[in-house]
C-alpha cells in the first residue's frame, strides 16, 4: 500500500530560503523552536520559549489552563496569521527552514503539519469527501487513486471496517469518536511530517480516547507528534518527551521519564505531583 504516494512537492515550502541565523537543535529534530514570543495586542502570551521536537516520537505539552499551551501549538503551523493583533517573534524551524521567514508558502507549510482539533470538525461533505479533500487540493483527480488514498488512510485509523459501506453518507452521522478518527485520516491523507493535536481526546469518551492514543502510538513510527494535553495521565501513558509550560514560559523539557520521575524544576515537581494545576 505504501507505494500509492501521489506526486506532490512535500518538502519544499520555502523559495530557496534558508534560515539566516543557524540554530543549534538536536539531530534530525522535527521542529526546532528558539526564542518564540507571542503577544496579542501587546500583551505577552508566550515568553522566550525554546525546545526541540525529536523525530518519530510523541511530544506532550503540559501545563495548567491558560499557560499558553494552545497558543504555542497554533504558532507551530502559523494558525495565528488570521488573528488580528497577534505578534509572533522568534524562530520555528523545520529542516533548517524558518516557517516565519518572509516568502514562506503558508498553505504548503500547513500541509506538512496535520492538525487534530479539540472537537472533531468534519467538513460538510461525505466521509469519502473528507479524506479526499486534501489530496484533491493537490491535484489528485483520478478516481481510482483517490479511492486508494481514502481506503488506505481510513484503514490506517481503523475506520475502514466501520464505514466502508457508507463512504458517501454525510460525515456528520458518524459518532464523535469516529469523527475524530476521520479527522486524523483526513490529516494523514496529505502525508504530513508532523501531527499537531490540541487536546485531541478531551471531547471523547474513555474508549474512544484509548483508540486515538493507540493510533498515535502506532503513527509515531512514521511521523512526529506534538500533543497539547490537559490530562497528566495521558501524558504519562503516551509521551516520549514532555514540555512543561507555566504562565507563558517553558519551565522544563526533556524525556518523559526524566520530567515525570526526576524533574529539575520545583514548579514541575509540584505540577506532576498534583499540588498545582
Amino acid at each position: 500500500m505504501e507505494n500509492i504516494l501521489f506526486e506532490m512537492n512535500t518538502s519544499v515550502f520555502v523559495d530557496n530560503y534558508k534560515a539566516t541565523a543557524p540554530v543549534s537543535c538536536i539531530e534530525n529534530a522535527a521542529l526546532c523552536i528558539r526564542g518564540l514570543n507571542v503577544a496579542i495586542q501587546g500583551k505577552p502570551i508566550l515568553k522566550d520559549v525554546s525546545f526541540d521536537v525529536p523525530p518519530k516520537s510523541i511530544t506532550c505539552i503540559i501545563g495548567p489552563s491558560g499557560c499558553g499551551k494552545t497558543t504555542l501549538l497554533r504558532s507551530l503551523n502559523r494558525m495565528h496569521d488570521y488573528t488580528a493583533g497577534m505578534k509572533v517573534t522568534g524562530q520555528v524551524t523545520i529542516d533548517g527552514n524558518d516557517i516565519y521567514a518572509p516568502g514562506v508558502d503558508v498553505a504548503a507549510l500547513r500541509r506538512r503539519m496535520g492538525l487534530l482539533a479539540q472537537r472533531p470538525t468534519v467538513l460538510p461533505m461525505s466521509v469519502f469527501g473528507n479524506v479526499a479533500y486534501g489530496p484533491k487540493l493537490y491535484g489528485v483527480k483520478r478516481g481510482e487513486l483517490l479511492r486508494a488514498i481514502v481506503e488506505r488512510n481510513l484503514k490506517a485509523v481503523g475506520l475502514w471496517e466501520e464505514v466502508h459501506d457508507r463512504l458517501h453518507s454525510p460525515a456528520g452521522i458518524l459518532s464523535v469518536g469516529q469523527q475524530q478518527r476521520l479527522c486524523l485520516a483526513r490529516a494523514l491523507a496529505v502525508q504530513p511530517a508532523i501531527i499537531l493535536g490540541d487536546e485531541a481526546t478531551s471531547a471523547l469518551d474513555p474508549l474512544a480516547t484509548r483508540t486515538i492514543e493507540e493510533l498515535l502510538l502506532r503513527l509515531k513510527q512514521q511521523l512526529s507528534i506534538v500533543l497539547v494535553t490537559h490530562t497528566l495521565r495521558q501524558a504519562r501513558r503516551i509521551a516520549d518527551h514532555v514540555v512543561f509550560m507555566y504562565m507563558g514560559e517553558m519551565v522544563e523539557s526533556g524525556s518523559a521519564q526524566q520530567v515525570f520521575s526526576n524533574p529539575v524544576h520545583d514548579l514541575t515537581r509540584e505540577f506532576v505531583g498534583g499540588s498545582i494545576g
Partner: protein
Amino acid sequence: MNRRFTEFIMKGLMLLSVATIMMVLLYILYIVASKGLRSLSWEMVTSLPTGGYYLGKEGGIANAIAGSLMMIVAATALSLIISLPTALCINFVMRRNGRLARSSRFMFDVLFGIPSIVYGAFGFLLMMWLGVQASLLGGTIAVALLIMPIMVRAIDEVAVLVPSDLTEAVFSLGATRYEMLKVVVRQLRPGIVSATLLAVGRGIGDAATVLFTAGYTDSIPVTPNDPAATLPLAIFFQLSSPVEEVQNRAYAAALILTAMILVISFGVRALVKYSRK
C-alpha cells in the same frame, strides 16, 4: 400561590398572542380566498388583458404573472451574486466582530429599514441618469437593491455561526482562503436557501419599488428594455376600479400571488431536501 398565578397569567398571555397572530393570518387568507375564488378562472391565469378588462370584460393577468416571475428570478439572481460575497467578506475576510464588520452590519440594517418606495424613487433617479426607461431591467435593479440587505443579513446570521474550527480544519490541510470559502459555502447552503426564499417573498410582493421603475403594460415583456407588468401593481390598479367585478379580480390576483410564493417556498425546500439525499 402568587407565583403560580403569575405563571398562569403569563402562559395565558403568550398563548393569546400566538392565537391573535394566527387569527389575523387565517383571516387574511380567508378574505383573499373567499373574494378571489369567485373571480379566479383558468382564463385569468393564461390570457392577457383585453381592451375592456379593467371595466369588467374578459381577459386575464398573464402579463403580470409573467412579469413578476421574470423580475423576481432576475432580481434574486442579481442580488445573490452580490450578497453572498458580501456576507462571506464580513465574516471570513474582515474580522468577524471587528469594527469594520460591525459597521457593515449596521449599514445593512439601515438599508433593510428603508421603505421600498425610497428604493423605487432611487431606482427611478438612477434610470433617468442612465437614460433607461421604465422597464423589466429597471424594475429588476430596483427590486435587487431592495432585497440585497435582506439577503446579506440573512446569510450573515448563519455565517456567524460557522465555527472557526471548520475554517482552521480546512486551512490545516493546506487550503487557501478561497478554497476555504468554498467549503464554508457548502456548510451555509441551507442558510442561503432560506435567505433566498425570504428575499423572493419580500421582492415579489412589493408594489412601491416597481411603480416607477418597471412601468405597466398589457403584454409580456420580450426584451429587458420592455416595460413589465407585475402582480402587486395589477392588484393595485384593479382594486382602485369602481367596478365590483374588477375589484374581485384584484383579490383573485392576490390569491395567485400568495399561491406563487407558497409554491416557490415549498418547491425550493423540497428540492433542497431531495438533493441532499
